[in-house]
Structure formats: structure tokens, C-alpha cells
């Protein structure tokens, strides 16, 4: 299963091991793990998503990445619901014959996930909660893949 969108915590080490075993034959495996930052007094993060569209949008990004970078395997894991500080939020894994394609594909997937996968983050602090605003630089980052 290439895409998993679920509230459950996951173990990035175990995911990387399983993916590497499945990607046997690839010369390069790159992984990225996003983690909840505790800066600015953040007590927790809540992630809302659009069930159905989220999975479909990510599956289409993964298919595009595989075709564009010649990946032999790819996987995206993304959590939703409440997340504690220091917990992994999401993970991207890309396997290719050589490292250049694997690194590029991981960046490509991250850039698209940031701005085109229907997730919305809400930060909880002692003094209240606030939706995270999308960053202009995240939108601009998509331009390099045009």
C-alpha cells in the first residue's frame, strides 16, 4: 500500500526498514520524516483532512513522482487528528536506481504535500488555538517543478 492516511502513530524506523526490504534492488532509498515542533509554547497539533480527496490527491502525486523520477517504489504516510510535540506527522519514502532521483522525488512529494494535499493544521497553545496559515514560500516551491 503506497499511501496511508490515518490517525495512528507510526514508527519511522520500522517503516523505513519495511520499505527498504520491499524496494530490494533499488540502489538508493531516501526518506523524510516530518515531526511536530514544540517551539513557541506549542502544546499539541491537530490535523483536519478531507477523507477521500486526501488519499486520491496523494495517490496521484505518488504516481506522478514514480513516472517523473523513475522510482522503483514510493510511499507516503500522513497522520491526522491530535498529535503531541515530537511525534512524527508524516513520512515520504522514495526508492530509485540512483540517489539523485530518490532525493529529487522526496522533495517533489514534500512540496506537493505541503500545498496540494487537503490537510489543515491547527496549533494548540496555553492561550488558545489557531489555524496554521499557508506559507507563500511553500506555494512558490511548487514553481520549480513546473
Amino acid at each position: 500500500m503506497e499511501v496511508r492516511v490515518a490517525p495512528d502513530p507510526f514508527d519511522p524506523g520500522a517503516e523505513l526498514s519495511a520499505f527498504t526490504a520491499r524496494a530490494a534492488g533499488a540502489g538508493a532509498v531516501v526518506s523524510f520524516t516530518g515531526v511536530v515542533r514544540g517551539d513557541g509554547g506549542l502544546s499539541a497539533l491537530e490535523i483536519e483532512h478531507y477523507p477521500g480527496m486526501t488519499e486520491a490527491a496523494i495517490a496521484s502525486m505518488v504516481a506522478e513522482a514514480k513516472a517523473r523520477f523513475g522510482l522503483t517504489a514510493a510511499r507516503v504516510i500522513h497522520r491526522h487528528g491530535p498529535l503531541a510535540v515530537n511525534e512524527p506527522i508524516m513520512m515520504v519514502l522514495a526508492a530509485a536506481p540512483h540517489r539523485g532521483a530518490a532525493f529529487a522525488a522526496a522533495e517533489f512529494l514534500m512540496d506537493w504535500l505541503k500545498s496540494r494535499a487537503p490537510f489543515w493544521k491547527r496549533e494548540l497553545r496555553a492561550d488558545g488555538a489557531a489555524w496554521v496559515a499557508a506559507k507563500d514560500e511553500d506555494e512558490a516551491a511548487l514553481g520549480r517543478w513546473a
Partner: protein, 82 residues
């Protein structure tokens, strides 16, 4: 009948996460004009469309997108995944 979905602060402002709407609006923009009249919260949710994104049948769309045959329209702020 179109199922209209709201996410994040649009959901909070509209006061609902989904509602079935009887409409003949030909485009997303026309639907927004109708929805604005449903409540003060709806009007507030759609007060600045530059901050609103839309999906028609779970695919990102523009405000001038046609609604012929559409079953589901979702409104939400710019996405913050990753």
C-alpha cells in the same frame, strides 16, 4: 442537490461541516453567492475569497468552474499538509 462541505476555519464560520443544498447555480462562484445568504456565518466564511480554495467532486477547481453534474463541492483554506 449538491453536497457542500466546509473544512477548517470555513467550517467553524459556516457553523457546519456539510449541508445538502438545492441549487441551480451554474458555477462555483454563483453557488458561493447563494451560500453567502444562508447565515451571517456563511457570509463571514466567504468574506475574502482570496483565502478560499474549492474542490468540485474532490478535485481542485477554480471559482469559475461549471457545476453541471457536480455532486460535491468543498470549500477550505489554503492547505497546510506535510
Amino acid at each position: 442537490m449538491i453536497e457542500v462541505l466546509y473544512f477548517a476555519w470555513l467550517r467553524e464560520r459556516a457553523g457546519t461541516s456539510r449541508e445538502a443544498v438545492e441549487t441551480r447555480a451554474p458555477t462555483v462562484a454563483a453557488l458561493v453567492e447563494e451560500l453567502r445568504g444562508r447565515s451571517e456565518g456563511h457570509a463571514l466564511a466567504f468574506s475574502d475569497l482570496r483565502a478560499v480554495r474549492v474542490a468540485v467532486d474532490q478535485k481542485l477547481a477554480a471559482f469559475d468552474a461549471p457545476l453541471a453534474g457536480a455532486r460535491e463541492v468543498a470549500f477550505f483554506p489554503p492547505m497546510t499538509g506535510g
